[in-house]
C-alpha cells in the first residue's frame, strides 16, 4: 500500500468542509486500495455511487460475504476495502475473528456510524452506542474520520493495515463525506 499524497490535503488547509465522495475514493485509490466490496448504507451512498462510476465496486449480499470476498482478493494480491453499515458488523463478526484475525488477512473496513449519540432509528441505537467498545473487545483498531484530521486518518489506516495485517476500521459519521442527497 502506498502513502497518500495530494488528494485530501485541501481539507487540512482551509476551514473544514464536507469531504467530496470522489476525493474520498481517489484518496483510497492513491493509497493502493484496488478491491472494493460491501453492503450499502445511506451515509455511504455517495462513496458507493462514485465507486460504481469508476467500476470499482463488487456488491455483496451480506457483510460477512463481503469480508470473505475481500480476504480472497487480498490473498490474490489486492488491497481490499469493505463498506458497511455498523449493523453489518454484527453479521460479519465471525468472519472477522475466525478468518481475518487468525489467518492474518487485513482489510480496510469503512463503517458508517449509525446511531451515533443516540440520534437515529431505534434499531441503530444499541450498536451505535457500543460499536467502539465492540471493536476494542475483538481487538480491531478503529478511528473516526473527521474533516479536520482526514490526512492523519488515512495515513493511520494505511500504516495500521501494513503493520498489523488485520482488519482496520474507519468510522464514517453522518455528514462528514458527501452523500447522494446534499
Amino acid at each position: 500500500m502506498r502513502r497518500l499524497s495530494a488528494g485530501v490535503s485541501q481539507y487540512a488547509r482551509g476551514k473544514p468542509s464536507v469531504i467530496e465522495s470522489d476525493v474520498f475514493v481517489q484518496t483510497m485509490q492513491d493509497m493502493g486500495v484496488n478491491f472494493f466490496t460491501g453492503v450499502p448504507d445511506s451515509i455511504l451512498g455517495g462513496i458507493i455511487a462514485e465507486l460504481m462510476n469508476r467500476r470499482l465496486y463488487t456488491p455483496a449480499v451480506r457483510e460477512d460475504e463481503a469480508v470473505g470476498m475481500a480476504a480472497g482478493a487480498y490473498m490474490a494480491g489486492k488491497t481490499p476495502a469493505v463498506l458497511m453499515q455498523n449493523s453489518g458488523l454484527g453479521t460479519s463478526l465471525n468472519a472477522l475473528i475466525s478468518l481475518n484475525m487468525i489467518y492474518q488477512q487485513p482489510c480496510i473496513l469503512i463503517i458508517s456510524w449509525r446511531g451515533q449519540g443516540g440520534k437515529d432509528a431505534p434499531e441503530h441505537l444499541v450498536m451505535g452506542e457500543v460499536m467502539p467498545q465492540l471493536l476494542d473487545t475483538i481487538k480491531i483498531p478503529h478511528r473516526t474520520l473527521t474533516e479536520k484530521t482526514v490526512i492523519e486518518d488515512f495515513r493511520w489506516v494505511a500504516e495500521t493495515f501494513m503493520k498489523q495485517r488485520i482488519p482496520v476500521a474507519l468510522f464514517i459519521t453522518k455528514g462528514v463525506v458527501k452523500g447522494l442527497h446534499p
Partner: protein
C-alpha cells in the same frame, strides 16, 4: 434409511478423485473435516484450508476468482456450509465469474459436530445454484460420473457447481498442522502470477 445410503462413496474418496485431476489451481476448502481430509489426501500450497468462518468458502473463492480472472478457482464446500452462506450462490450467479467451480460434498449432515441432519435432503442445492445463475450444474452419485463431470467443468466457462452425494463416512484425519497465518502466506505465494 435414505434410498441413496449404502451405495454412495465417501467424501474423502470423492475428494481424492477430484484432487487427482487438479495441479496448481487454487482450492479453497471449507471448515471442518473437508479441510482435514483434503490435507491428508494431498497437501498442496495452493490449498487454503479453513478452520472457521463457516459458510464463507465460496465468498473467499469468489474474491480470488475476481482478482485472478485467468486462474481457475475451485472451492470444496459442504451442504451445511452452502445452506449457511446461501446468499453467496446469488452473488456468484449474478457476477458469473467464468473461472469459478463450486464443488459441494453433500452428505445431508453436519458431520463435524455429530451428524445432525441438514435440510439438503429436501432442498436440492444444485437447483438453487442453477436458479441463482450458475451456468453449469450437475448432481452426481458415483465416482465415474463425478470424474466425467468435473473434467468437463474444468474445460467449460463457469460458474459451475458439481454437487456430489456422499455418505456420512469421515476419514480418520487429524487437524491441519500448518498455522493459519502460514496457510495464508504459502497460499498467497503459490497463486502469484
Amino acid at each position: 434409511m435414505r434410498p441413496e445410503q449404502g451405495t454412495l462413496i465417501s467424501r474423502a474418496q470423492a475428494m481424492e478423485a477430484l484432487l487427482e485431476l487438479l495441479t496448481d489451481q487454487p482450492v479453497i476448502i471449507c471448515n471442518g473435516f473437508p479441510s482435514r481430509e483434503a490435507h491428508k489426501i494431498v497437501d498442496r500450497p495452493t490449498h487454503f484450508y479453513m478452520i472457521g468462518s463457516m459458510g464463507n468458502a465460496p465468498a473467499i473463492a469468489l474474491g480470488v476468482a475476481l482478482a485472478k480472472p485467468n486462474k481457475q478457482v475451485i472451492t470444496f464446500d459442504g451442504d451445511g456450509n452452502v445452506l449457511m452462506g446461501m446468499g453467496t450462490l446469488a452473488t456468484v450467479g449474478a457476477l458469473k465469474p467464468k473461472n469459478f467451480i463450486h464443488v459441494v460434498f453433500d452428505n445431508e449432515v453436519y458431520g463435524t459436530t455429530g451428524n445432525q441432519p441438514t435440510i439438503s435432503n429436501v432442498v436440492p442445492l444444485e437447483k438453487v445454484a442453477k436458479s441463482a445463475g450458475y451456468v453449469n450444474v450437475e448432481r452426481v452419485l458415483d465416482r465415474d460420473d463425478l470424474v466425467y463431470e468435473f473434467k468437463d467443468m474444468l474445460k467449460k466457462d463457469g460458474p459451475s457447481m458439481l454437487l456430489i452425494k456422499v455418505n456420512e463416512f469421515v476419514e480418520d484425519a487429524g487437524r491441519v498442522l500448518h498455522d493459519p497465518p502460514d496457510i495464508t502466506r504459502r497460499f498467497m505465494k503459490a497463486i502469484v502470477g
